[in-house]
Symmetry: C2
Subunit: 273 residues, 2 copies
DNA sequence: CGAGCGTTTGACAGACCTCAATATTGGTGG
DNA sequence: CCACCAATATTGAGGTCTGTCAAACGCTCG
């Protein structure tokens, strides 16, 4: 965690001029939440207003930086403001399993405790800005504000639902289904707070990311993506995702359109706001 | 959901004499939380005292009964008091993926919302007793009591951690590792609140349950269990689980003993109590 | 005794992995 | 602008793990 709480901490709002667009390994268009500040600002204003009195700080981290590491203690909660991150579990053979991707507005840092250390590693995929607050302070704030506590519970509930969906995909589906499930899920999460549903969507992942998340090898992910492309289902190359046949994709991903997806709020807004 | 809220509702405490031991498909010894009331009473007293003013009711359900069904609305929260349950996702081909097993003290019923219906199906494995409360009432109670809200958040956090561990097992591990992981996890959860760590532990699951939870076929689960048995790692037959070599099992399951397991409380008791 | 369920075992097929080589891309420096 | 390098993506051949199908066994219950 080291310099995460260092002197480069910022207390000001997440302004594009003060937080210049990240230098990314590859250019991303304005649709991507990494560079588009609208989503970030909306989540930030609401969370910051609640948490800044408790010592929340805005931080920036470079792509590839580790936000916290499996086995090591980490005493902060992070709210991602912009950019993409991931949470993975390291195995002894050096392989890793990505358990979730973190998008702006998502909370990370509750995957462990002070004594035993974090159970997972969090890593910035792109350059990111996060809102950091001491975990003990955050819990104290929640204990004083049922509204904040329920907002926290709501976020964690969404994480649990997403994880269970992930379990279903990994346990039951073939390679096509797993990849389709992941890309559909990411597409939905990115476009959820976005009006213009353009056909092409930029996702800052490569085939290795998809492999580590779906439990497949990069080689097989490549074959599966090619298969999906030739079958006219979706096109994903160089981070550009196009859903060519969303309906058939949902079938392959075994997503029942009637069922509330991961993004749905289980806790009604009335109980939070 | 039907008769769940029917006239057989009980408001009295969970007494063995009033709630006679369930007629189970196979006999279970006194170690199993299904028949042992100590765990049930402890969880119940604490939760009931908080929730009964809000209309919580104790209910009983038979083994095999569905507590709620995927796609259908369900407006209650259930706290399992005794017995075992499971939560699974149904796929269109008729297969199912068990996403978690529910033990006494666990909460279910937040896997969806009123409008879209539940995202999963919950089913009683053995006869169960549950503490039921209207979801809207429960959320209102949480909104008035930060303590209850944080207790809820703590439970959901544990579920999320457990689900992520499950994701890691399904995505990364071989059949042996998946089965070992599941049985070790269940063993830990059952013995967590139990002093005498006897060598033999009764778990009310069959090979089909294990198959649906690990994403394997019952045939392969059978082969894997036989393999684990001949290698002197564990013995699981007719619901009787014996861990013959816990250390080597933990290796196979890729469980890092230094890392906090799913059972650890992420939210410190001081923030809840 | 027969029916039904769960378990066990075998032969075979398919999905995915491993290893290896090549092609493509993006970045760097001359 | 081109050469060069590292990282990523692609393609092929062969092997392993797990699924599928089928049959038989044991157990419980009616």
């Amino acid at each position: 965690m080291g310099d995460l709480m260092g002197d480069n901490a910022e207390r000001t709002s997440h302004d594009q001029s003060r937080f210049p667009a990240a230098r990314l390994s590859r250019p991303l268009c304005g649709q991507c939440p990494v560079r588009d500040g609208s989503l970030c600002r909306r989540m930030e204003r609401r969370d910051r207003d609640r948490l800044f009195p408790f010592g929340a700080r805005i931080q920036t981290r470079r792509a590839g930086a580790r936000l916290f590491h499996q086995g090591e203690p980490f005493d902060h909660i992070l709210i991602l403001q912009s950019g993409w991150a991931l949470v993975h579990k390291l195995f002894e053979d050096g392989e890793r399993q990505i358990v979730r991707f973190v998008l702006p507005g998502d909370l990370i840092g509750f995957e462990g405790n002070e004594e035993a250390g974090m159970a997972y590693t969090a890593e910035a995929i792109t350059d990111v800005t996060v809102c950091a607050i001491k975990r003990s302070v955050f819990y104290r704030a929640c204990a004083q504000s049922p509204r904040l506590a329920m907002s926290f519970a709501s976020l964690v509930t969404r994480e649990a639902l997403s994880a269970w969906n992930h379990v279903g995909a990994l346990g039951h589906q073939t390679a096509q289904g797993r990849v389709a499930n992941l890309l559909l899920d990411l597409h939905r999460r990115v476009t959820a707070h976005r009006n213009p549903k353009d056909s092409v969507l930029h996702i800052p992942l490569n085939q290795v990311h998809i492999a580590d998340a779906t439990g497949l090898t990069p080689v097989h992910v490549c074959r599966t993506l090619k298969q999906l492309r030739t079958e006219g289902l979706l096109d994903f190359r160089k981070g550009a995702l196009v859903l060519l046949d969303p309906e058939r994709l949902a079938e392959i991903a075994q997503l029942d359109p009637d069922i509330a997806p991961e993004g749905s709020m289980t806790i009604p807004p009335s109980a939070v706001a």
